[in-house]
């Protein structure tokens, strides 16, 4: 005797939610909730909207992702704890999200060129519980913004900063982090122009650091005591020349700068160079 499976609409509600949740914001709002009244009820539950992840690349032809995002946040009714916005959000949308999400623990922004550093600092002030902040390929984030963010989010434990085309202002960002984020446990500072003084300040200013990823930070010199200190203090360390194969974002300029070029020229005979 085979058991007959119950109709879709009679699956346990949690199970239906478990499946529909994985569809993502756009598919839920556009399709799933319109299928039947049972699914609509499931999709209206704020618990469905605790995690929001919207990426422009998944919907390259849609121009209304910012509005979708706002509707998803409305539905969460303040229960949102984790949001990733990629390639669509502007300052207004970010502020809209943050004003309505006091419980947010994790904010991740990637390739949002229209979010200003000023709006970002204003937005995170609304997030007293924020523990994780990831800023990836954001054009307008300055060192002083980083410092203000650190001061506004005392619970911050995990921070990622990968800025494109950053000007060589050396260790400013690292110093801002060291001064304002004393409780960090995890830090990724990708392809940053910091020098040894910046790294030194990070080790001093963030004593709880367990993991540190400074891949592509080619201006730090880890051959001396600083390198030793890093490997002693940090449990999980990723070094400037470590593989970036598992890194999905732009990996920055090639691993040399003017100094290593000069070393290269000075140490090579002309024969070596041209043969």
């Amino acid at each position: 005797m085979a058991v007959s499976a119950p109709p879709w609409t009679e699956l346990p509600r949690d199970l239906t939610a478990n499946i529909l949740r994985r569809l993502g914001v756009v598919d839920i709002l556009e399709n799933a909730q319109k299928v039947c009244t049972t699914w609509r009820t499931v999709c209206k539950d704020p618990a469905m909207w605790r995690v929001i992840d919207i990426r422009h690349d998944d919907y390259p032809h849609r121009m209304d992702l910012d509005i979708m995002c706002r509707r998803a946040v409305d539905r969460s009714q303040g229960q949102l704890i984790d949001i990733h916005m990629e390639g669509f959000a502007d300052s207004e949308t970010l502020l809209y999200v943050c004003r309505r999400s006091r419980n947010l623990r994790r904010l991740s922004l990637a390739c949002c060129d229209d979010i200003s550093g000023k709006a970002l600092t204003k937005a995170v002030k609304k997030l007293p519980q924020l523990e994780e902040l990831h800023l990836i390929i954001m054009l307008d984030v300055l060192a002083r913004h980083v410092k203000t963010i650190g001061k506004s989010c005392p619970m911050l434990k995990s921070f990622t900063l990968n800025l494109p085309g950053e000007k060589p202002i050396y260790s400013k960002y690292a110093l801002a982090i060291a001064k304002s984020m004393p409780n960090l446990c995890h830090l990724q500072l990708f392809a940053n122009f910091m020098k040894n003084d910046g790294l030194q300040a990070l080790l001093d200013g963030c004593p709880h650091l367990e993991s540190l990823d400074i891949r592509q930070c080619h201006r730090v010199d880890l051959s001396g005591d600083l390198g030793k200190r890093c490997s002693q203090q940090i449990k999980n360390l990723r070094l400037p020349l470590d593989s970036v194969d598992d890194y999905r974002w732009d990996t920055g300029p090639p691993p040399y700068d003017i100094h290593s070029f000069r070393d290269f020229y000075e140490s090579s005979s002309s024969d070596d160079l041209w043969c």
């Binding site: 005797m1 085979a2 058991v3 499976a5 119950p6 109709p7 879709w8 609409t9 699956l11 346990p12 949690d14 199970l15 478990n18 499946i19 529909l20 949740r21 994985r22 569809l23 993502g24 598919d27 709002l29 399709n31 799933a32 909730q33 319109k34 299928v35 039947c36 009244t37 049972t38 699914w39 609509r40 121009m63 209304d64 509005i67 979708m68 509707r71």
Partner: protein
């Protein structure tokens, strides 16, 4: 009928359990595999009996779940191999089979498999129109025409906002 799991007859040293499906088929499963299911683990902790009867899981579905549990309990397999087994496991299965599976994993509390199957089901539904989902999942449209019109009105926001901006 007693069917052993994929690894063949169990050695005397290893503890094993017999699990019976609702249609009476019995499966011999190593205890290390069975306890990957939170529900089975609880049952085994509470009673001495090595025979567990599952009144709402049929033999085909149970065989699949047990194959999954046995693979994941095998210490000799690398995590990569287990991951590719998971991918294989859900690929090409029909909706109804997935539905039985997701229900069974929910009952047995096999969180990882429940996640994998739910993800597969969502992937199938992704980017499909409402009508397609209704047809393929055999779901009746129980909206009244008024309710449907109301939803259309409420969901017109995206379009309206765009128009305002264009103006």
């Amino acid at each position: 009928m007693v069917t052993t799991d994929e690894k063949g007859p169990l050695t005397a040293k290893k503890k094993s359990v017999i699990i019976r499906s609702c249609d009476g088929d019995e499966f011999l499963v190593s205890e290390s595999a069975a306890v990957l299911s939170t529900s089975l683990k609880k049952i085994l902790e509470e009673k001495e009996d090595r025979l567990i009867h599952l009144s709402d899981i049929d033999n085909k579905t149970l065989a699949m779940v047990i194959a999954y549990l046995s693979t994941h309990a095998d210490d000799g397999l690398s995590d990569d191999l287990k991951r590719s087994f998971d991918q294989e496991f859900v690929s090409g299965k029909e909706f109804d089979v997935l539905k039985y599976l997701v229900l069974a994993t929910d009952t047995l509390q096999v969180t990882c498999l429940c996640y994998t199957v739910a993800k597969k089901m969502a992937d199938i539904m992704k980017n499909k129109l409402v009508e397609w989902v209704r047809r393929e999942f055999d779901i009746q449209n129980d909206y009244t025409p008024e309710a449907e019109a109301e939803i259309r009105r409420l969901d017109a926001w995206a379009w309206d906002d765009r128009q305002l901006e264009d103006d």
